[in-house]
């Protein structure tokens, strides 16, 4: 049993009126620092385990190309989780949006840019459906997005008749330009997009009224409503955001593989969700961080690439995933509880 506040580490004598002090760095940025720490430790482990692979740029390029596929969705998903909801349907939205793009260019004769707009609109509509069902009808998102996940996937399979579409560079030069060609010939464009979208999402969450309301809704829905916050609109918009970025990721991964598979999106569900929670966003809503999600995505992306390049059997990947996720979440909980106890007793 932990006994009161005499825990080592925070036993510095407290001034009588310690509230004079602003919240400590640890209290404000605890979870972000934690996740960055975990990332650094893991990286050092890899460097020691396989110095040859990890001092070579190739490995970094490898996970800079693959991580953003789920990382970009995780950014948007962070907002949904902060409002206290979850979206499990985004893998299907990745496929459905990309399917609309492919149909647009191959069947309906749309120019690529119009097909692209149609694809994003599809993602937005999917998100709107999720959001409306969750926020207007008050259906638990965990339940309803399992349903819509089948719905969107089913619709996509029917539309595509179960077949894929090749996305070659000479047929889709613009798309390859946007989603595949490295920036200035060296920087993996996937990660460039991830950085740009992370900055925009950070601004959206921390520097707009909408973002402020995302926190309020997730923290205490009744209070937010009493103060005039439109809960339905805020929640719906977070789901729409996930839908749009899911389509972005779906297009990106399809162009990366030169081919749209009807199964696109499979396998990204848990990595994206794990990134959000590993990044310190609370499952209870009300708190969360884009920086955390960003770093956590790369940690998860690196485990995959790292295990293989370190010469460890790939069967160990899941074991490593499990270990890092469980360890980090436990660590975060302990840090948070300690911070909380410090603030409760330090008064």
């Amino acid at each position: 049993m932990a006994t009161d506040n005499a825990t080592p580490g925070i036993k510095a004598p407290r001034p009588v009126d310690n509230r004079i002090a602003p919240p400590s760095i640890l209290r404000r940025w605890g979870s972000q620092l934690g996740i960055i720490g975990v990332g650094l430790v893991m990286w050092l482990c890899f460097v020691f385990a396989a110095p040859a692979a990890f001092t070579n740029a190739d490995i970094y390029v490898a996970f800079a190309e693959t991580t953003p596929v789920f990382g970009i969705i995780a950014l948007a998903l962070t907002l949904v989780v902060i409002t206290g909801e979850i979206d499990l349907s985004f893998p299907s939205v990745m496929a459905l949006g990309t399917a609309i793009f492919c149909l647009g260019t191959t069947q309906w004769g749309l120019p690529w840019w119009l097909a692209l707009i149609a694809a994003f609109a599809t993602g937005a509509v999917c998100g709107w459906i999720n959001g409306a069902l969750v926020a207007r009808l008050n259906i638990p998102s965990l339940v309803i997005t399992i349903g819509t996940q089948f719905l969107f996937r089913g619709l996509e399979l029917v539309l595509m008749n179960g077949t894929g579409v090749p996305l070659t560079e000479d047929q889709y030069p613009a798309l390859h330009m946007i989603f595949r060609e490295p920036l200035f010939g060296v920087l993996p464009i996937e990660t460039v997009w991830m950085v740009v979208l992370a900055i925009l999402t950070w601004l959206l969450l921390n520097r707009t009224r909408f973002g402020a309301h995302v926190f309020l809704v997730g923290d205490n829905q009744t209070s937010a409503r009493l103060m005039g916050v439109n809960i339905v609109s805020v929640k719906t918009r977070t789901f729409i955001f996930v839908g749009i970025l899911a389509v972005f990721a779906g297009l990106m991964v399809s162009v990366y593989g030169y081919y749209f598979w009807p199964t696109t999106g499979d396998g990204y569900l848990l990595t994206a969700i794990a990134s959000v929670f590993l990044g310190g966003t609370s499952v209870f809503g009300g708190t969360g961080s884009i920086v955390g999600t960003f770093v956590a995505s790369y940690i998860i992306g690196a485990i995959n690439a790292g295990i293989v390049s370190a010469g460890i059997n790939a069967f160990y990947t899941q074991l490593a995933f499990g270990f890092v996720i469980v360890f980090s979440v436990v660590l975060q909980t302990i840090i948070e509880r300690r911070i909380r106890r410090q603030s409760l007793t330090g008064r």
Binding site: A212, N220, L344, R347
Partner: protein
């Protein structure tokens, strides 16, 4: 019916044009009812608050005080037939955002705070200031919160940092945030729903001083409390609610505290004041 009894202050006198019937109420409810499923919480309520006036709302548990307040605030929509007037204009699309934009603020019984958030986010809940770029003016929110906390909540400057999370504050301090938030936005009408609940003696005293301060500033207030000893001294007029109806309206000059207590007992027993 309405008699302006204590215009003791020049500012208040200026704000309240004349002590006659032609003064326009800040807020008026006409024939307002509110039904939740089978439960009728309010029935046929007529209710007015004049400029510069403090109105007390008394009644037992379940009399409909909180429902009435939430209707004034736009949180509940009145049943068909009920009307809400703001400064004489009938308003049909009444909502919390609308009410707040017109200068009606409430300190709720449940405080309506988001406790995992820092003070500055709570202070500006639902009406966050923006820069000319349309982005959230976080700097101003922090600075204003710090100023308000030292000026209105009685903390010596920087005694409570605006970045502190609300969970870490005491009950009185939380109430301080809720009250300061209501006052800060230059409200025309402040509604206080059981503001002294769970407060210490000094905190209660401070809260009551705040209520009289509203009047001095020429603004109106609706004050709800279980404790008649808190309500009676600060109000100008009193509504007694019983089972969703207005059981009586009194000017303070018409009734002593003893008579009022006597009548409240009677209404609790028989449902009638006389």
């Amino acid at each position: 019916m309405h008699k302006e009894t204590n215009v003791t202050n020049l500012a208040a006198a200026a704000a309240a044009p004349s002590p006659s019937a032609d003064a326009v109420p800040v807020i008026e409810l006409r024939n307002v009812s509110k039904t939740f499923g089978e439960v009728r919480s309010l029935s046929g309520i007529n209710f007015k608050v004049y400029p510069g006036e403090i109105v007390g709302l008394l009644g037992d548990n379940g009399a409909g005080k909180s429902t009435l307040v939430k209707t004034v605030m736009g949180f509940h929509k009145p049943d068909a037939g009920g009307e809400v007037f703001f400064k004489g204009d009938r308003i049909d699309d009444w909502s919390v955002a609308r009410a707040r934009s017109l200068g009606i603020e409430t300190v709720y019984q449940e405080r309506a705070l988001c406790e995992k958030q820092p003070i500055w986010r709570n202070m500006f809940m639902g009406r966050e200031p923006r820069t000319k770029w349309g982005l959230l003016d976080v700097k101003r929110m922090r600075a204003e919160s710090a100023r308000l906390m030292s000026e209105h909540m009685g903390f010596t400057s920087a005694a409570v940092h605006p970045d502190n999370i609300v969970t870490t504050m005491s009950g009185g301090e939380k109430q301080g945030v809720a009250i300061t938030r209501a006052l800060h936005f230059d409200a025309q009408l402040v509604i206080l729903d059981e503001p002294t609940m769970g407060l210490s003696l000094t905190e209660t005293k401070k809260t009551l001083e705040f209520v009289t301060g509203i009047k001095r500033a020429g603004k109106s207030a609706i004050f709800i409390d279980h404790n008649i000893f808190h309500v009676y001294p600060v109000v100008d007029r009193l509504y007694v609610l019983d089972r969703g109806k207005v059981a009586g309206v009194y000017d303070k000059s018409q009734i002593t505290m003893e008579e009022l207590i006597e009548r409240l007992y009677r209404v609790a027993r028989s449902g009638s004041l006389e």
